[in-house]
């Protein structure tokens, strides 16, 4: 079976500066892949290339059979099928939680407002926030906002979910409520690519771990291999640093 996301020899430059160098990996349907690595190593850039939020100059990325780099690809349509969750939640502050959950369903997918609402509220209930439907993002805690952001992405019935450090802007006591939602999602068979430094989550939930450094994928292996015996010195250093905390 061909993978849900396949990244093949992708390179990207900002002017003269090469951010990504020959990155190759794949995410199978239902697989959970954690991407980690030091700050500035290109993790965010790589996952933003997957839904074409960032263009890349070399290589190819295929998502569910559709080539992201192909100029003929309908990018908005492709993006609407891939959910993305950001470090800073990025809920729309001027819209109520309900409207945040429905606006793209209605404007992008063309669903009826009633249908979109039902779907949105069901997902809000799933992330444990049914009581907050009428509130605005500014009235929720960070952890709650991030759970809404996940529900908002799920409302589009995505074929895969991308997470870019979803917990790193959260106070420690709120991290788990978000990780719990992500864990549940993984158990339900969602295809997920998560940039995160939550190694506990990676150990429990990930199938594979990708380690990046200076724009290159240094390690790409099964979780147990990664935590058991990372081959590269850099990954070992990174792990020992991060696991001290």
């Amino acid at each position: 079976m061909s993978p849900m996301i396949s990244i093949d020899n992708v390179s990207k430059w900002y002017g003269d500066f090469q951010v990504l160098t020959d990155c190759t990996t794949a995410v199978a349907k239902g697989e959970v892949v954690v991407v980690c690595g030091p700050s500035g190593s290109g993790k965010s850039t790589l996952i933003k290339c997957v839904n074409a939020l960032e263009p890349f100059q070399k290589g190819s990325i295929i998502v569910d059979g559709i080539s992201v780099g192909d100029p003929k690809t309908d990018l908005p349509k492709l993006r609407s099928r891939v959910g993305m969750v950001f470090q800073h939640f990025e809920l729309f502050p001027h819209l109520s939680i309900t409207d945040n959950l429905t606006i793209a369903q209605v404007k992008v997918l063309g669903r009826q407002p009633d249908e979109a609402r039902d779907k949105g509220l069901k997902l809000l209930d799933r992330v444990g926030l049914a009581a907050h439907a009428a509130k605005y993002p500014g009235q929720l805690s960070g952890g709650q906002q991030q759970r809404v952001a996940i529900a908002r992405a799920l409302a589009m019935d995505p074929i895969a979910m991308l997470f870019d450090e979803p917990t790193s802007a959260l106070d420690p006591e709120m991290i788990n409520e978000v990780l719990d939602v992500m864990t549940q999602l993984a158990h339900e068979g969602m295809t997920m690519m998560c940039v995160t430094h939550e190694m506990g989550f990676a150990r429990r939930v990930a199938d594979r771990v990708i380690f990046m450094d200076r724009g290159m994928i240094i390690e790409d292996c099964a979780k147990d291999d990664f935590f058991g015996s990372p081959r590269s010195e850099r990954a070992q250093q990174f792990l020992s640093k991060i696991l001290q905390h």
């Binding site: 993006r79 609407s80 606006i103 793209a104 605005y136 500014g138």
Partner: protein
């Protein structure tokens, strides 16, 4: 100074038909409002479009908007008015020239010129406010909206502009008041708006002080009510839970 104060002057006959001076003020206020409101609507629409253009990645589009702003912000308003009134009509096609110069009555042609002048002048200022408002928003908002499948126009329509306009209500309010104040330039090309009517009353009645006191009062009350109105609007569209939104 043996000035003869007479506050009852406004109720005296002007000697023209059965009009009293107060009628002139009412008519003048009517023109002032008609100029300012129509010019404001155009300025708001055009300024929003230009403001959006300035934030687009497309260099040509943002360049056009930048050039527009530089041009209209750096030429004095009065010069712009005279250009619109005396020069622009000569640049129109033959047929339109005849229509503008001969078929329109002078009041209408003066009205059109001053509306165009204030609309284009104010649009440059609105453009800058809109641009500032959009640029004040976190870049992640655009990212998130794009990631959900919104097209660029939808990102602006549903995500950026509703937030940007909320942020810029206070500076827009002052542009809105300015357009009322600036509308007094119309008196220079013969449109009988509030200032022109005041001068005429002063000349006809010789009650200069009363006339200008009333005009001052009218401008003041007008601007205060506009400010109150905009304050109400700001409260109404305030987003709950957002800092600096005025609402709770």
């Amino acid at each position: 100074m043996n000035y003869h104060w007479d506050w009852a002057v406004f109720f005296k006959s002007t000697g023209i038909g059965d009009e009293i001076y107060l009628d002139w003020f009412v008519a003048g206020l009517g023109w002032t409002v008609a100029v300012a409101l129509v010019a404001w609507c155009i300025a708001l629409a055009l300024g929003a479009v230009l403001g959006v253009m300035r934030t687009l990645p497309n260099k040509a589009l943002s360049g056009v908007a930048t050039a527009y702003v530089e041009l209209f912000r750096n030429v004095p308003l009065l010069v712009q008015l005279f250009v619109w009134y005396f020069l622009v009509p000569d640049l129109l096609p033959e047929r339109a020239q005849v229509w503008f110069k001969q078929e329109l009555n002078p009041t209408t042609s003066a009205y059109l010129s001053v509306v165009a002048c204030l609309a284009f002048f104010t649009a440059a200022r609105v453009c800058e406010q809109v641009r500032t408002g959009i640029q004040a928003l976190p870049r992640g908002q655009t990212m998130a909206a794009m990631a959900m499948g919104f097209s660029l126009p939808q990102v602006y329509r549903h995500v950026l502009l509703p937030q940007a306009f909320r942020i810029i209500i206070p500076p827009l309010t002052s542009e809105f008041l300015n357009i009322f104040k600036n509308s007094s330039v119309a008196s220079l090309i013969g449109l009988m708006e509030l200032l022109a009517q005041t001068k005429q009353t002063a000349e006809f009645s010789a009650n200069l002080f009363e006339a200008f006191t009333l005009a001052t009062l009218i401008y003041f009350v007008l601007n205060m009510s506009l400010m109150k109105g905009m304050g109400w609007l700001e409260k109404r569209v305030a987003v709950p839970g957002l800092i600096g939104s005025g609402g709770k």
